[in-house]
Symmetry: C2
Subunit: 107 residues, 2 copies
């Protein structure tokens, strides 16, 4: 993997392996990816806390990794996961972090 | 949208609106997002060329945007698209950029 483009980080897209919903996007450094592969639980690098965090370590809503796919440039990963716990991935309690639609033309 | 976390960029995940495949991840600056919303065609910011690029502008394999969803932190977008042209999104000619599975435990 190429971690050089984004100061040691790569985006990690999380997709439900069963429903194919896109659930969240996190960032991984090399250690987070290695930890994810070793444990089978999605683990990211928190840019705000400057440390690794395993998704669901407090809520119990962990993400069990079924497959990891890399893109053609080797600088992004796609995690296909099974949701554990109550299955709500977002910290707001929603199933997915992507629940707001951008409407209209202005930003 | 919050463009401050990644030097003016946000990740943009592209998902087929019909099959729900994750096709690619690009980056957008504010201008790329505004251009995408105005034209309805997925447009990214190229970090290597330091300029906007509309996906498919040379290949014809443009991405017609059906919906744009933002995540709970307002720092990532999910584009749900219809594939135009021959429908192959990756520059390698593959349908999706995510065609390589990471096997085993080592990085």
């Amino acid at each position: 993997m190429d971690f050089s483009k984004l100061n040691g980080l790569i985006p990690a897209v999380v997709q439900d392996a069963h429903t194919h919903e896109v659930l969240m996007v996190g960032f991984m450094n090399e250690e987070a990816l290695a930890h994810t592969r070793r444990t089978g639980l999605a683990t990211f690098f928190s840019r705000t806390r400057n440390s690794l965090w395993t998704k669901g370590e407090t809520s119990g809503n962990r993400l069990e990794v079924q497959r990891i796919l890399t893109d053609c440039d080797d600088d992004t990963v796609l995690l296909q996961v099974t949701r554990l716990g109550d299955g709500n991935v977002c910290h707001t309690g929603a199933r997915s972090c992507f629940f707001t639609e951008l409407e209209g033309e202005s930003t």
